[in-house]
């Protein structure tokens, strides 16, 4: 962190010098002016600056050198032909200011050379060059000073904090300090910057952006579109999710495990993959729309297609939520109702449905917020239909209006927050779920025979549809030109792997770096939240959970705003991607850790401490082994989510650090569906492999979970 700080300080100072020099050269005399007098004047005002005035461009014009500093003049004459000097001269002749990367020896010390053009009266041609030598010791001593000051300030703060609150428990103190620094720097600060930007116009407070956003029909249309799509997706997903959940939890048919596995597949599948397969099947050159039905005017792009893709990718969320709720309802309640001579239908309507109602609402809200935040699917499939997430992306990348982009993303946050508070206020209060100690055996089938057949057919057809979507992607890998020429080829694979290799490697590298960091931060955070009491705990928890509610587009915009300039210049580096992965996946890891830790009897840790272990030893020998399942699943989750991220990182990638999902998007945009299919398939297999590996590892430690709560 300090090297970043230091680097940016250097940059700021050099920036200052450059600007100063630019101003100075503006005042420099033209072709026939009195250079000597100007140099005298400059030396009086800026004694630390050594100047050399070159009249004319070397290699183009006749040149004349002036300087009050003989050493500088000598250096110029000696090294004019050096590569670094040539670059400087060339830059100046193209009207740019250039800082020589390496310091040169000048007199007794090291100096940095800055080349700056002297412009003609019109300001469009270089008439000469001013070379300035800046004493580097000035730079470094200033740097060292600020560096030392900030270090001292940090340690004083840390020490004071540690002594005041944690004289008994220093590791906890440091953990709190580190986590606070992380979330303040990478959650609070960027978001604050983004929000601030929407209220600033030309350097002062202004509501212009918000006025524009809230009156412009285009933006309001996008808001309406998002809500429309969200409502459609949420409703369809909840219905399908409920049918699936009912099938799995309330009927005694076989194949439940298979159905569950198939239905959860879309949750972990990479972005663009389902969209891709929908386009392959129903797009303009789709296999079904054009190939089989020969439709000409049909378009999958828009609300309908988006609703379809989102429903398929998001109904598993509703399914898993509702299956949990249905499983938790003691089925003896239903048996009791049947026993009291209610019919199955009456039992369903009067017992099962009311008890599931809070679950249904929270499933709906969950899907709704997910649909709003979804970026990848609309990016490919929205057509002329507008949604907020894509709109804010276009504002930023297409129009370069960061303020508007940030404001649109914030607008996206509002329905999400509303949904969250509705959930808190209403669902939590109305939750009837009675969790009994042990699930009781099912005595009677709640669904009648025709109902069961309907459920079975529905579930099987939906599952088959999902399978065929994945099949389509795999098929897409081997087809020459989808929609036109269906001949078999392996050329796609070769080309895709060649062109996608770099992106694949950089994505895996960065995700691999982010994974353990996110895992450790999440687990330490969980320990702090569950086991420790300290001032500011609620704030820390809230900040760690914030990225969960904030749409990825907003995080992406906030990061380019916050880390694009000193003191934190991170845009374009791999680090910003790693940080983005860690921060975005922190909430889920934290929740997992907290849930696991809450099940662990605190007296286990107290016993370890009592037997002589200090806090660090307790964490290492007791807590970590016990939360290992949560730790591992949080890490594999982070890895997979990082590999498949789109919304935030699309703003942050650079040529050096590209991302595999964006590569898929680019291939699809350029109608290279074959290449996109190959990368999507590869990504699906990576994801499945990681989850498979996780299951194997977690299963090994499963005996733990059973004994953790033993009384």
């Amino acid at each position: 962190m300090f090297s970043v700080l230091r680097g940016s300080y250097e940059k700021t100072i050099l920036q200052d010098k450059k600007e100063l020099l630019l101003a100075l050269t503006r005042s420099a005399p033209g072709e026939n002016g009195d250079v000597e007098a100007w140099l005298e004047e400059a030396r009086k005002t800026y004694p630390a600056l050594h100047l050399l005035y070159v009249r004319g461009i070397p290699g183009v014009d006749e040149i004349q050198e002036f300087s009050l500093d003989a050493e500088l003049k000598a250096l110029w004459q000696a090294r004019q032909e050096d590569k670094a000097f040539k670059t400087g001269i060339e830059a100046a002749s193209y009207l740019e200011t250039f800082v020589m990367p390496d310091a040169v020896r000048l007199g007794s010390g090291e100096s940095l050379l800055i080349f700056s053009p002297v412009l003609n009266a019109e300001g469009d041609t270089a008439r000469g060059i001013v070379v300035a030598a800046v004493d580097e010791t000035v730079l470094t001593s200033f740097n060292n000073l600020t560096y030392a000051l900030s270090l001292i300030a940090f340690f004083v703060f840390a020490l004071g904090f540690g002594i005041a609150t944690f004289s008994r428990d220093p590791p906890t103190g440091y953990a709190i300090l580190v986590l606070f620094s992380i979330v303040l720097l990478f959650v609070a600060y960027p978001l604050f910057t983004a929000v601030r930007l929407t209220f600033v116009q030309e350097g002062r407070f202004s509501l212009a952006i918000w006025k524009d956003i809230l009156t412009n029909r285009q933006y309001l249309g996008a808001l309406a579109g998002s809500i429309q799509l969200g409502a459609l997706t949420a409703t369809l997903s909840t219905i399908i999710g409920f049918l699936f959940a009912f099938f799995v939890s309330r009927t005694s048919m076989r194949g439940k495990k298979l159905v569950t596995a198939l239905a959860t597949l879309p949750v972990i599948s990479p972005p663009f993959s389902l969209t891709l397969s929908i386009i392959l099947l129903f797009g303009n050159n789709g296999l079904i729309t054009k190939g089989l039905l020969g439709l000409e005017n049909f378009t999958i792009y828009g609300l309908g297609g988006l609703g379809l893709v989102q429903t398929i990718s998001m109904f598993p969320i509703a399914f898993l939520t509702l299956a949990g709720v249905l499983d938790a309802i003691d089925s003896t309640l239903e048996d009791a109702s049947l026993d009291l001579n209610a019919s199955r239908w009456e039992t369903f309507m009067r017992v099962t449905l009311p008890l599931t109602m809070p679950g249904i609402l929270s499933a709906w809200l969950l899907v709704f917020t997910n649909s709003l935040a979804d970026f990848a699917n609309p990016l490919l499939l929205s057509g002329s239909f507008r949604v907020l997430s894509v709109e804010s992306y276009i504002e930023v990348t297409g129009m370069n209006r960061l303020g508007n982009g940030a404001a649109l993303s914030i607008l996206l946050l509002l329905p999400t927050l509303t949904a969250f508070f509705v959930q808190r206020a209403w669902v939590a209060k109305k939750s009837f779920v009675v969790v009994t100690g042990k699930p009781s055996g099912r005595l009677s089938d709640l669904a009648s025979k025709p109902m069961r057949i309907f459920l079975l057919v529905f579930v099987v057809l939906t599952s088959l549809f999902i399978v065929s979507l994945y099949g389509t992607i795999v098929a897409g890998c081997f087809v020459k030109n989808w929609g036109i020429d269906y001949t078999f080829t392996t050329a796609n694979i070769v080309e895709a792997l060649q062109r996608g290799r770099e992106a694949m490697i950089s994505t895996m590298t960065l995700a691999g770096i982010a994974t353990p960091i996110a895992g450790f931060i999440a687990m330490i955070g969980a320990v702090l939240v569950v086991r420790k009491q300290f001032p500011g705990k609620r704030l820390l928890e809230a900040l760690m959970m914030t990225p969960f509610a904030v749409p990825g587009t907003l995080i992406g915009i906030a990061y380019i705003l916050a880390f694009n300039e000193p003191p934190f210049l991170l845009v374009g580096t791999g680090a910003i991607l790693v940080i983005c992965y860690v921060i975005r996946e922190l909430p889920v890891g934290l929740e997992g850790g907290v849930a696991t830790l809450r099940q662990i009897d605190p007296s286990i840790e107290e016993a370890a401490s009592d037997l002589g272990a200090d806090q660090a030893t307790v964490f290492r020998t007791v807590i970590l082994p016990l939360i290992r399942p949560a730790f591992i699943s949080s890490m594999s989750y982070t890895f997979v989510r990082s590999m498949t991220a789109v919304s935030a990182i699309i703003f942050l990638i650079s040529a050096r650090w590209y991302h595999i999902t964006i590569q898929i998007y680019n291939f699809s945009e350029n109608i290279r569906f074959g290449l996109a299919s190959v990368l999507a398939t590869a990504l699906i297999f990576i994801v499945l492999a990681v989850f498979g590996l996780m299951r194997v590892i977690v299963k090994k430690s499963e005996h733990l979970e059973k004994t953790v709560t033993v009384q």
């Binding site: 007296s603 016993a607 005996h703 009384q711």
Partner: protein, 364 residues
């Protein structure tokens, strides 16, 4: 396993918690003053929420006292963390490490102390032998019965040779039969090792049967400290009398409060005698009588009249519930023969065994 017996002293210890919901302070322990002798087993007894567990956790170092000092063997340990104290705790839920087997659980404290492996082996097996679990050294804790888990927890605490053993309701999760068995076991081990022990319980029978002294607590305040027999027979307050056993109270007027021996008083004008007097008794007092110090007689013969409402046959005794003007009073009839037990519904009178009834201050 030799142990050094060290005393534990609590000096004016108070603990105030802040209730996050109501934003008010809760006095968990108020100015507790207690000296526990070396090798003594002291029980902290009281209803739930009386502060007994908080007191134990302060001795163990899991909570810091708001005020006061705690000394172990004369050394001030008030602010030492648990890992720096010579105490070992047996937790109510045992707190066994589920990821370690029995041997490794017991060895944990020794490994943290960086003791050599061969020595760990001997000491762990010795400790397991003491609690009779040598054969199960390689079992996972999840595959042990409640009683066995309890023994592992005990062995794990003893193996580090603590100066003070702290037991936080260690038997509350066991069934009745096992509880009795473990009670005897704990007492045996504690006496064998001569270790100072503090035992928290809300079960009066447990407290009576295994402690050298009992500390009765209520709402964070120590009510009375004494050997079990004193606490039972000569309690100082209505609360202690009621908490440690079945008891009946009769409001009496005291004729002479200064007398040392049996004191004469009147129960609604009828003269009665009380064998002993608690400190702080004034003109109006409560006469406490245990079920075994009451006798049944014919109406008009005793201190008060009543009607037998229910007889409960317990084998070695019969408990007669008698409805009187002072409420329902329990009379225990030992060695019951049909002649001494009165039929349900019959009018009778109750008289006191004067040597065993005691005068207490009126609560309030």
């Amino acid at each position: 396993m030799d142990q050094i017996s060290v005393p534990v002293n609590l000096e004016q210890v108070s603990k105030i918690f802040r209730d996050p919901k109501t934003k008010s302070d809760v006095h968990a322990v108020r100015e507790a003053q207690l000296e526990i002798g070396g090798g003594e087993l002291v029980t902290l007894l009281g209803p739930s929420g009386c502060g007994k567990t908080t007191m134990l956790r302060m001795i163990g170092g899991f909570e810091l006292p708001t005020r006061g000092r705690i000394r172990i063997g004369g050394e001030d340990v008030t602010f030492l963390p648990p890992n720096a104290r010579a105490t070992a705790t047996v937790f109510q839920s045992y707190g066994l490490f589920p990821h370690l087997d029995v041997f490794d659980n017991v060895a944990y404290g020794l490994r943290v102390r960086k003791i050599a492996a061969p020595q760990i082996e001997t000491r762990v097996m010795e400790a397991l032998d003491l609690v009779g679990l040598k054969a199960l050294a390689r079992r996972a804790p999840g595959r042990l019965s409640g009683g066995q888990q309890q023994r592992v927890a005990l062995a794990r605490s003893l193996v580090v040779r603590p100066q003070v053993l702290l037991l936080d309701e260690p038997l509350s999760n066991l069934d009745a039969l096992l509880r009795e068995q473990m009670r005897v076991e704990i007492r045996r081990i504690q006496k064998t090792l001569g270790i100072t022990a503090v035992y928290v319980t809300h079960d009066r029978v447990e407290a009576m049967s295994l402690s050298d002294r009992v500390v009765v607590m209520k709402e964070g305040v120590i009510q009375q400290v004494g050997p079990p027999s004193t606490i039972y027979e000569r309690p100082d307050s209505q609360f202690v009398a009621g908490f440690v056993g079945k008891v009946a109270f009769f409001p009496v007027e005291v004729a002479n409060t200064t007398a040392a021996g049996p004191v004469a008083c009147t129960l609604d004008g009828k003269p009665v005698m009380a064998g002993s007097v608690a400190p702080g008794v004034g003109k109006k007092a409560m006469l406490m009588a245990r079920p075994e110090s009451l006798r049944l007689g014919n109406p008009g013969e005793g201190a008060c009249d009543g009607t037998v409402s229910t007889n409960v046959y317990l084998g070695s005794s019969v408990e007669s519930f008698v409805a009187t003007e002072y409420g329902e009073i329990l009379v225990q009839i030992d060695d019951p023969s049909m002649s001494r037990v009165r039929a349900e519904g019959s009018r009778i009178s109750i008289s006191f065994d004067e040597t065993r009834v005691r005068l207490l201050p009126v609560a309030g």
